[in-house]
Symmetry: C2
């Protein structure tokens, strides 16, 4: 059974995260094995710290306005392997191991299963 | 010299894009060759249509509040290869061919060059 990688973040790194006016930061989850982009969701400071501490992805659900411990309901947890922040600190990238069928609530492997173009 | 791929989007697909209260949608740019995530930025409806029409990435700069035809200044243009929208239409994914040294204004290949953890 996979487990997450706890990440010991420095205070300097935490300070570099630029939360928006709502206290949220967008987070990209990428499959560390096949490099597929699985989803994009949001974290607040609390869910980000939980993600680092537990080594599994904990988002903030904007629709439900509550912590969203990814996979608690679906079983499709995401285990943290590596985490990055971008040049201006306002977007995060987590490389994860995706458990179960996939990341998407539709059952798809990735949320980006619809392609533009006819 | 690379050129972009014009994408003929259906009205149904365009209608599926869920812009936020500011009229913007987050867009992930991924290198189509090595699958690196290059950057995340924002588009409004106009820049999205320009991106589809020209086949190169045109963002909306939130800091400058103007269209940002990526690479016009730096030369580091991004040519569109494939474009996707996620399950709820509020995030877009473009697979691109990155011109020049990289996507980041720092000169780095990707904006996500800083890793959490000590």
């Amino acid at each position: 059974m996979p487990t997450g990688t706890r990440i010991d973040v420095t205070s300097e790194q935490l300070d570099a995260v630029a939360f928006n006016a709502d206290g949220l930061v967008p987070v990209i989850a990428q499959d560390i094995d096949n490099h597929e982009i699985l989803m994009m969701a949001w974290m607040n400071a609390e869910s980000l710290q939980m993600t680092f501490d537990e080594g599994r992805m904990v988002y903030w659900s904007r629709s439900r306005q509550e912590l969203w411990r990814k996979g608690d309901t679906s079983g499709d947890r995401q285990f943290v392997r590596e985490a990055y922040y971008d040049c201006d600190g306002d977007t995060l990238l987590f490389k994860v191991e995706q458990e179960g069928a996939g990341a998407c609530h539709t059952g798809a492997r990735t949320c980006f299963f619809r392609q533009f173009g006819s």
